[in-house]
Amino acid sequence: MILFFLSSGLFLGWSLGGNDAANVFGTAVGTKMVKFRTAALIASIFLILGAVISGAGASHTLGKLGAVNAIGGAFMVAFAAAFTVFMMTRLQLPVSTSQAIVGAIIGWNLFSHTQTDYNSLVKIVSTWVMSPILAAVFSALLYLLLKLILKKWKLSIFRLDSYTRIALIVVGAFGAYSLGANNIANVMGVFVPVSPFNDISIGNFFTVTGIQQLFFLGAIAISVGVFTYSYKVMKTVGAGVVKLTPQSALVVVLAESLVLFLFASSSVHDFLVSHNLPAFPLVPVSSSQLVIGAIIGIGLVQGGRNINFKILGRIASGWVTTPIIAALIAFIALFFLQNTFNIEVYKQKPAQQKVTLINRDSIKVKEKSENKKDEDMGNHNKKKVIANKIELKNHTS
């Protein structure tokens, strides 16, 4: 039964592996610089490592946005996100898993009357805008640097080819690690509060937490997606909506990977905070949009001749439409799951303030429940509901 509830997350993982691995190895495979089997194997290994080792940061932020507290709800939230991605892809609309899952979580918040943490929401949405811009800046700088290096080194065509292949594999591995670390939150983040797994200790040295096991499962689903579906996508990317040289592709993947890593790595975050520097919020971002941002960065350095502003407009519209559609689908699906199958999709929080208005015989009844500290007992930790206040008001003119 647990696996059934996780299936929507696993499906989301499969779809992520099928589509987003192409953002890391697409050009390398599409241009035949790296064989698909090599790329898929490296991508899978590093995706799993990234998800298990560094996946917690971004999913923590999603958890703050809305902690889905029943596994039925988590199932439907992931399903709504997956369905949104599937539907919008079919309609050829720009879509990102990150944006769909955020919308679906907000849908759950609305359904379960949970207050959405607007600080987290603002942080996440601003990251969507900031991340492609950052990718553009990185790729522009890396492009200039690589150009300088190639001018100085004067490599022969074959040597450049060999170095580029090696670099594409190394950078691809880093990209896969960062993708796993950043995007596992989209796949398994909603299941974290209801994780069915317990910590496993191996000897006294090593502990695999329940969340790591959950992320491992999600990462396996991503890897299956890489092996079963990404080849087609990689071929499409390689054949190129935008034709890139393998060296430019390397710059794009490196810029994308760096941004993914910055928005996923707790270590970098902690380091920046400890040095009183502005830290990057740990938020799942869209790798496809990073790629587009990075390509635009190169275009700007080349004189801005390759920039398609229509594409930029479509991305920006996706920031709004995707979460709204996902929230709507999640809300309707949760209602359906709760009322048709009688499955618990959220747990009532005991500390929650409840306000109900009842009209009865022209009398308005206002019922409030609240928590209050038991000061007489002198115990500050113990909370107790001490009273229900009922106010009766005459409904007279």
Partner: protein, 215 residues
């Protein structure tokens, strides 16, 4: 590291191909000059030499083609590279045909045109040799390719001018009596100049490949 090992052999073969083209150009230059300087019997041995070079170039081109595809090397540029080798091979073919035509038709080049013909042969052969340098640079140091392409362009223009001069002198001349002789002189001037045109075609391909390879 395995890739680097594999490519060494291929680099050797590509170098060998350009050596062959450069040698063929030299054989062409010497062969025609021999003919013009009253040593027509020597052209036969030059034809044998250029035939051997053409066969060698063909063989190398095929080997390079197989290796580029079998070992999946330079996937982005291999189409361009093969096109480049093929069009360069045509230049040798052209040189061989001109030498053959001299041997078969044994055209009578009047003394007043000999110097212009020698200059035309030099300009054409120079264009081919600069083309070889441009092609080598494409593989080794892409930033200097355009310098050689400009030289090829210069020699091609020189060859065109000399071809024009020869034709005008031939048709204005009363020393060349018959129209058929004039036409034959014109034909050989055109044939010799064709070699520089071939070199320019190769360089046009190269220029596009350079743009495609630039970051």
């Amino acid at each position: 590291m395995q890739i680097i090992g594999k490519t060494k052999e291929l680099i050797g073969e590509i170098d060998g191909f350009w050596d062959t083209i450069a040698k063929a150009s030299m054989v062409f230059r010497v062969g025609i000059k021999d003919y013009l300087q009253d040593r027509p019997e020597k052209i036969v041995s030059r034809i044998i030499e250029i035939n051997e070079l053409e066969n060698l170039a063909d063989r190398l081109r095929k080997q390079i083609k197989v290796k580029l595809y079998a070992q999946m090397l330079i996937p982005e540029s291999r189409g361009d590279v093969l096109g480049l080798l093929e069009s360069s091979d045509n230049v040798i073919d052209s040189a061989k045909k001109v030498l053959n035509s001299f041997d078969i038709e044994k055209p009578l080049i009047p003394d007043f045109l000999t110097e212009d013909f020698v200059k035309l042969v030099d300009a054409s052969a120079d264009a081919v040799e600069e083309m070889v340098k441009a092609a080598r640079a494409f593989f080794k140091e892409i930033s200097v390719v355009n310098d050689y392409i400009n030289k090829v362009s210069f020699f091609e223009h020189e060859a065109d001018k000399l071809e024009d001069t020869i034709k005008r002198k031939a048709f204005d001349s009363i020393e060349i009596e018959s129209l058929s002789w004039k036409v034959q002189v014109r034909y050989f001037a055109e044939r010799v100049a064709l070699l520089s045109d071939g070199a320019e075609d190769v360089c046009e391909r190269l220029a596009i490949s350079v743009i495609k390879r630039s970051l």
